[in-house]
């Protein structure tokens, strides 16, 4: 009887994993990401993030089109997309930014959301020297 109860318990826990928080997707502790210069994010830069120059900005649809070395990519920003000004070339601290800083000609690194390549998780904007 105890074994049956145990089996029921374990099965129920499995079914309720989402509720317990176990299935939350791990994105990594992104708060220190703010201070990692463009192109240096470990395991991300060059793999799940790409760099390029902003070619178009669509404020209404909250999208930007970025020219990379090999293609032109359009990516959507959501409420969860974080934007930072990367001032490392000025030897200054990176700061939070907003959509208005995304302007044609600016160099950016874009990390896309896992399994949703058209959606930005974060964007770093280069502040030149």
């Amino acid at each position: 009887m105890r074994k049956i109860l145990s089996a029921i318990l374990v099965t129920a826990i499995c079914c309720s994993a989402v509720w317990l928080g176990g299935e939350a997707v791990v994105y990594g502790q992104q708060t220190t990401e703010q201070f990692i210069p463009m192109g240096k994010s470990p395991g991300v830069s060059g793999k799940y993030a790409w760099m390029g120059e902003i070619d178009q900005v669509d404020e209404q649809n909250r999208t930007i089109t970025v020219k990379t070395d090999s293609a032109s990519k359009t990516i959507k920003l959501t409420d969860k997309t974080r934007i930072w000004l990367d001032r490392s070339k000025q030897r200054a601290s990176s700061t939070k930014a907003d959509f208005s800083e995304l302007k044609k000609g600016r160099k950016v690194e874009v990390k896309y959301v896992k399994d949703r390549e058209s959606e930005a998780e974060w964007i770093k904007i280069e502040v030149a020297q």
């Binding site: 105890r2 109860l5 318990l9 374990v10 309720s16 317990l20 502790q29 220190t32 990401e33 990692i36």
Partner: protein, 463 residues
């Protein structure tokens, strides 16, 4: 003749002296040999050795801290108030006390010294005075079997400790930015340098080499009535319910289907009344756990290494392993999402309810498996030292030092629970022999062999 005799005598003495010197030299070579690192040319060993050196010695041009500042080898790769109290005032752990740029909003020195708590800006750096959490330092043992999950790697107390791809490899980058910086500007190339790709590889390899490389397979044929009963309660999914989330006393959950690995739960630790840290500073913000903003969940730590690495939980809320087990009897757990869920499945609507004897029994079981892991490690280290076959570049004396510490812990965790006095006697003898070996030139190997035998006898009293 006299001259000849004298010359012969002189030659004879010289030859004798040379023989003695040669014998001593030969003995020294036999006892100590070449540095172990020169005998482990395999690339993995070299990578681990490089990672070890970085972990304990590299400051990344920051404030003087290394990874080993908070994860010292001399204290099971974690810190606690007793260890902290022995450090000199200029130890880099205390940079907030003597570096003006780090005086405010970098650490909370009183909480560090009293409870081993470290400041983390897990919800961002835009409001440093008000947005922070205070967390204990988890050990880095058994990472090989505790980091992976179905949803990706889980590092740190809430499973989201690393920037970049969130992996253990990337963890060092976030740690340098959070803890190594010279100023709160946190500018790479100014306040610190970021680890290179090669350094991240090496530090990951080193961390994965620490402690257990495999899971236990419970139940173990343990000795001692209380310990055995503790194991039964631990594994009983209708009573202790421990083995569901801490399968095989590790960090992974035990659910039907494919292995899920490490899991996050909201067990209500943040709702505990009278948390030590908040008794000193009632304004410590609530730690919201995984994510930003957090969902209140924290990941599951391994229990095999728990008994000698307290305090317990992400906020060092509970000092003893018995208290940590008893936590699951309290209202904080009962009213938490995890507690309520367990209760909803229980015929008597009870989350977990253990009487005092049962709490002590589960803790006794945890003390016993911790001691067994200490014995395993100490024996392995002594054998490496004897065979000059270190997997990570340490020389025999360094290996012996670590073996001494593991042996000490092996009886300390048993004594703390009044368990298996016969085992304690043998393990104390092993400790005495290992310490004697450390100071011996003539009998080093013999003493190390005898220490291994004493460890074996101690182990036989446990399993």
């Amino acid at each position: 003749m006299k001259t000849h005799s004298g010359l012969f005598l002189l030659r004879s003495k010289s030859i004798s002296a040379m023989l003695v010197v040669a014998a001593i030299t030969g003995w020294i070579a036999l006892e100590f040999g070449d540095p172990v690192s020169s005998q482990t040319p395999q690339s993995q060993s070299q990578l681990i050795a490089k990672g070890r050196n970085l972990f304990f010695n590299e400051t990344f041009n920051g404030n003087g801290r290394t990874c080993g500042t908070c994860h010292p080898a001399a204290n099971n790769l974690t810190i606690d108030p007793a260890f902290i109290a022995k450090l000199p005032p200029n130890d880099p752990l205390f940079v907030a006390e003597f570096v003006p740029a780090l005086k405010e909003n970098f650490e909370k020195p009183e909480l560090m010294r009293k409870f081993g708590l470290i400041l983390e800006n897990l919800d961002g750096f835009d409001d440093l005075p008000n947005k922070f959490t205070m967390r204990g330092v988890p050990h880095t043992l058994g990472m090989r079997v505790s980091v992976n999950s179905q949803a990706g790697p889980r590092t740190g107390w809430s499973g989201d400790g690393a920037p970049g791809d969130g992996s253990l490899r990337s963890f060092a980058t976030g740690a340098v930015i959070q803890h190594f910086t010279k100023t709160l500007n946190r500018v790479a190339g100014v306040d610190f340098r970021l680890p290179t790709e090669e350094e991240l590889d090496a530090m990951e390899a080193f961390q994965l080499s620490l402690g257990r490389q495999t899971e236990l397979a419970l139940p173990l044929p343990l000795k001692g009535e209380v310990i055995k009963r503790g194991q039964v309660i631990f594994m009983d999914n209708g009573l202790g319910k421990c083995n569901i989330c801490h399968f095989n006393a590790g960090a992974n959950a035990n659910l039907p289907g494919p292995p899920v690995g490490n899991f996050n739960f909201n067990t209500g630790v943040e709702d505990l009344p009278d948390q030590p840290g908040r008794l000193v500073n009632p304004n410590i913000p609530r730690d919201d756990g995984f994510g930003r903003p957090g969902d209140g969940t924290f990941n599951t730590p391994s229990l095999v290494e728990a008994a000698d690495t307290g305090a317990f939980f992400h906020n060092n809320a509970i000092e003893t392993i018995e208290g940590a087990v008893a936590f699951y009897n309290g209202d904080a757990f009962k009213n938490s999402p995890s507690g309520q869920f367990l209760a909803s499945l229980d015929p008597n609507r009870i989350a977990i309810k253990l009487d005092a004897t049962q709490v002590v029994a589960v803790a006794a079981f945890l003390r016993a498996i911790n001691s067994l892991e200490n014995i395993r490690q100490a024996t392995e280290l002594l054998e490496f030292a004897l065979n000059k076959n270190s997997p990570d570049g340490r020389n025999p004396n360094q290996l012996l030092d670590q073996a001494i510490r593991e042996t000490f812990d092996s009886f300390r965790v048993l004594e703390g629970g009044g368990l298996q006095p016969a085992a304690v006697t043998h393990l104390k003898e092993a400790h005495r022999l290992a310490e004697k070996a450390r100071g011996s030139w003539l009998s080093k190997k013999r003493l190390m062999r005898e220490a291994i035998e004493a460890l074996k006898r101690g182990r036989e009293q446990l399993i």
